[in-house]
Symmetry: C2
Subunit: 330 residues, 2 copies
């Protein structure tokens, strides 16, 4: 049997974890077969104390999920021997990349592990908001159908103009899928991409003005924080729909809630929130909003893929081979 | 103003309606501008009596929605002057077409009016069942996210094999959209279609054996009634998902419920039911089922399209021009 018997931890390379990454819910036993997992979250010690101890024990690599900010002062100062951070997330906003570069710490990303999953989630949220799928399911379950008769009309996705913010690995997959629905694709990104034929807008407000639906699939950075502002929401307008599968703080959530409450946009599909898992209470009763528990990446298939990628990156690091998905090599 | 003033009904062509079609919820005023609508459902007379009166008054055309069976004995015997039935539905299972042909009554269909809407609904239901979208929305709304933490894993659509039953106007649009998700498409239909490259299965059980997901988008006929039988569901298997946007009785619903209750298939997305709007009570509590109130066609855009088509068919009939969407001309 492959996993029978207790591995000799002394022979396994040490990998630090501050928090259990989501992939551990399925693959912790497999990780433990390949690595000596040093779990800060299981220790009663204060974190700085624990990190100093781990450092003394020779920890050079860390698996980082999105739950903990990894900055110089809080974490890296205590780990002068750290040389590699392997992340399990699509976004890297929780890691101070400049500080890692300065210290010569390599960082790997999740690569394309979640891209198909996130893209199909985005499409599902768009159709759900336009066509009231979750709302219709609720209508049936509470018995509305047999009492009230015909359900309310939705709006057809086919033929709509969709503005995608961030045309990376996920955004491109969203565009490809929506093209098959007969949608016209516009996009905004840091730079125009000569390889695609979609119409580029350097200005997000202008993109919103010209879109029926806006989908956010960009990274959270200082530049994109609260990018979806009062002005952008006004430009999207009362027939407009917004979908966010990226990071909550890209939208000024307080303003979004106000626009929804006042009927100044038509609906929203939200997989991420500014203070998740807490969500604005105003959204709970809204029938034109679809709420998703940061689930765009949550599939058995993506977890298998990210397990393989994280394991591969760590094995490459420990055997001095090229990393599989470096965002920053050293 | 276009609709100002009361039209002179004496100058308008008479059109019989047994029940108000769904499109009347929006377009009744426009229909009444163009036609003298003879509404059986507003009369206190018994239907046969009303029909005889309408016939004497010179009714030659009828708008038919899906709510009433149109057979020789019940309806047509009372309307010997009827020459055209304009339907507002995608399916025609409620009309005795052979009897219409025998009597020289032309029948028009909804054509492609709902095809995009139904195809995108089918895709939404597939992703919803695989990725738990409606279930996730419920999880967030009842506060599960902040209490239980990470939501359960779903299954990625991209890369799955999807078997489509009925590759007509709607089925083809479903296939095109799912191809963009990287799905492999198989299909079953009355005849193999030389124009498509998807793999054809003449046997539905064999199709189910080879599919991760089955989508029903065929007509309800004597041949397709309870086509999704114990045998087909067994072939689909415990990892399999079924979606129905066609007609409820194509599935043996009692067996489907049993398979779901016993965990013998993975999930279902159902827009139609055998005795809608009544649905089997066992489905209400299931998290792996998405329930939709026969809403696949319910969009503002499809209603606009069907209004134009019904109006155009009636105008063509009354001016002896070719019908726009004949399923059976005379």
């Amino acid at each position: 049997m492959e996993f029978a018997g207790k591995p000799n931890l002394k022979n396994l390379p040490k990998v630090l974890l501050l928090r259990p990454p989501p992939v551990f819910t399925i693959y912790e036993p497999e990780f433990s077969q390949h690595f000596d997992c040093i779990k800060a979250y299981e220790s009663p010690l204060p974190l700085p104390h624990f990190l100093t101890t781990a450092n003394s024990a020779g920890v050079t690599a860390m698996i980082a999920s999105g739950h903990t900010q990894i900055t110089g002062v809080d974490i890296l100062d205590h780990l002068p021997n750290l040389r590699c951070i392997v992340t399990t997330t699509a976004g890297l906003n929780h890691i101070d990349l400049a500080e890692c570069r300065r210290r010569g710490i390599a960082v790997t990303s999740a690569g394309d592990s979640y891209s198909d999953d996130c893209a199909e989630s985005a499409v599902a949220l768009v159709i759900d908001v336009l066509r009231n799928v979750s709302s219709g399911d609720r209508f049936v379950r509470i018995g509305g159908w047999s009492v009230d008769g015909q359900f309310r009309l939705g709006n057809r996705l086919s033929g709509k103009t969709v503005g995608i913010i961030g045309l990376g690995s996920i955004g491109c997959r969203i565009a490809k899928r929506l093209e098959a629905f007969g949608c016209r694709i516009l996009y905004n990104s840091r730079k125009e991409k000569p390889s695609v034929s979609y119409t580029f807008y350097s200005d997000v407000t202008e993109l919103a003005t010209n879109s029926d639906v806006i989908i956010i699939s960009c990274a959270l950075t200082d530049q994109t924080r609260h990018m979806i502002s009062t002005e952008v929401l006004s430009a999207l307008g009362k027939e407009g729909v917004i979908v966010n599968i990226a990071r909550g703080p890209i939208i000024d959530e307080k303003e979004l809630v106000r626009f929804l409450v006042e009927g100044k946009i038509a609906g929203a599909g939200l997989d991420v929130f500014e203070k998740e898992p807490n969500i604005p209470k105003e959204l709970i009763a809204m029938e034109n909003v679809v709420l998703s528990p940061h689930a765009a990446f949550l599939t058995h298939e993506s977890f298998r893929d990210i397990f393989e990628l994280v394991k591969g990156n760590l094995e490459a690091f420990f055997s001095n081979k090229p990393l599989l998905s470096p965002v920053m090599d050293v």
